[in-house]
Amino acid sequence: MEEFIVIMRLDILTKEAQPSPEQMQVYMQRYHDWVGGIAAQDKFVGGTGLSKEGKVLKFNDVMTDGPYAETKESIAGFITIRAKDLEEAVSLAKGCPILKGEGNTVEVRQIVTGHNKV
């Protein structure tokens, strides 16, 4: 089994794109249905949500408030999963409910350490 990170990107800045509390509840329930399905197969390793606040550090001591000004695809959160290969990891990631929203993306990457990097 290999480990993969599933990075969820969506627009968390534009006011009109933000869900109401009721919608949010539905989204969270769908999110947990998806993660619960992965965890039920014993393929969930860990995961975390991210605060909307943040700083971006750049070359030459430049610091900005978050990465969002330049993109509508902020990292909203990520989970780590176990799968036998990229193909299986992708099939698990396909169930991610944020994919129901236009413009949102999910990126799947295998976790490799310096030791087993080819």
């Binding site: 947990h32 249905d33 993660v35 619960g36 399905g37 965890a39 039920a40 197969q41 014993d42 995961g47």
Partner: protein, 408 residues
């Protein structure tokens, strides 16, 4: 009560108290002395009571005899120290004048401290369970063997090794310091949780013993919520589902001693008092931000006290299982989660999720598939139930599966 039934009863309730107090007095290095004096006290009762009759206050009688036996033991040590080897400065000379304190307060404190000593992370979980049953719950060697379907020899060996380990690690009988409390408490909660589950779900046919195991687990957990320094949200969160589950004790066993499945239980037999107690502890568990595995189990157990098959019930159970699996995977939680999913999103969704689980050595897995295919594809349902039947280990499980097959 006759002495033939009174002594076993007192053994269960008083052995642990006396042994805890004496262990604390002597220290874990001399745990055997504490155990010997306590056992000897009960032996004296068994010999004396049939001849002289049962004393007015049997428990007080036991305390008195235990105190005297301890005094005699210490006196012998003193004699040895002063007469036989006068040069040796022996600590037991001080011990002689010390009174063994069997007041309710000291009994309680000693038991609480013992809980942390026998659940010390330095010793194996298996040893922790054995010692807990023996020292904290006052179970006899035979009862422990019966509960875990093993021999008395194995239990004795296990307990011996566990005690040696306690000595080796020089573990003290004391409450952990506040900074270490949460971590040490976690180990204690795991043992209480295992004791309860062993009683509630075990394969042992001895039903009285199984119920006793559950009640003992609840008693230990209650001691923890009653003490200020151990009354933490996770402790309340563990006590809550135990109350909820225990509310079905009487409803899940028929007059003939057969196991009655949840769906077939008479909800009127569920113990309303225990359900409301569970609710009380669940509320207390909600203080603070912690969301432990026990909180989620409590949430599931709460909804299981609601017999009616509502959408709300199953949506909540599904949510709690989704969260539970993220922090503590177990095959049984995965199967229950899938059942809840089918209740919320329909059988097809349930079947699709179930087929991904691939728990092909687990009879509950095939029983679940059989259940989900019932009413969808009778041939497949039969096929899966038959697979479950082959894998089922206990007679109760087999009977339940055969019933389902008959109803197809």
């Amino acid at each position: 009560m006759q002495h033939t039934t009174l002594i076993p009863h007192l053994f269960r309730t008083e052995y642990r108290k006396i042994v805890s107090v004496l262990c604390r007095h002597f220290g874990l290095q001399q745990m055997e002395i504490a155990e010997d004096i306590t056992s000897d006290t009960f032996l004296t009762a068994a010999e004396t009571w049939p001849l002289k009759g049962i004393p007015q206050q049997p428990a007080a009688w036991l305390y008195h005899v235990a105190k005297n036996k301890t005094k005699n033991y210490l006196q012998r040590g003193l004699l040895f120290a002063t007469k036989i080897s006068p040069d040796i400065k022996n600590n037991s000379a001080e011990g002689y004048e010390e009174e063994i304190d069997l007041s309710p307060q000291n009994v309680n404190d000693s038991q609480l401290q013992m809980m942390f000593a026998v659940c010390h992370p330095a010793i194996s979980r298996e040893a922790q369970i054995g010692l807990s049953l023996r020292i904290l719950c006052g179970f006899g060697i035979e009862e422990i063997a019966d509960a875990f379907l093993t021999s008395k020899e194995t239990v004795n060996k296990r307990l011996f090794r566990a005690k040696e380990k306690l000595k080796e690690e020089k573990i003290n009988i004391e409450l952990p310091p506040p900074a270490a409390m949460n971590e040490r408490l976690e180990a204690v909660l795991i043992i209480i949780y295992l004791l309860f589950n062993e009683g509630y779900y075990s394969v042992s046919q001895n039903k009285t013993l199984r119920k006793d195991l559950c009640l003992e687990a609840m008693r230990l957990c209650t001691m923890l919520v009653e003490n200020e320094s151990t009354n933490k949200p996770a402790v309340n969160a563990l006590l809550a589902p135990m109350c909820f589950h225990a509310s079905r004790f009487d409803a899940r066993i028929s007059e003939h001693g057969e196991h009655i499945l949840y769906e077939e239980q008479d909800a009127k037999l569920w113990n309303a008092d225990l359900i409301s107690k569970g609710g009380y502890f669940l509320n207390r568990a909600a203080s603070g931000n912690e969301l432990s595995k026990y909180h989620l189990e409590a949430g599931i157990a709460y909804w299981n006290t609601q017999k009616e098959d509502t959408k709300e019930k199953w949506a909540n159970i599904l949510y709690f299982y989704n969260r539970l699996l993220q922090i503590a995977y177990s095959p049984i939680a995965a199967l229950n989660r899938t059942y809840a999913l089918a209740k919320v999103n329909g059988k097809q969704a349930g079947i699709a999720a179930a087929e991904q689980l691939e728990l092909t050595s687990n009879h509950f897995y095939f029983a679940l598939l059989g259940e989900l295919y019932t009413g969808v594809d009778a041939a497949k349902a039969k096929e899966y139930y038959e697979k479950a039947l082959v894998l089922a280990k206990t007679e109760a499980d087999k009977t339940a599966i055969r019933k389902k097959l008959d109803h197809l």
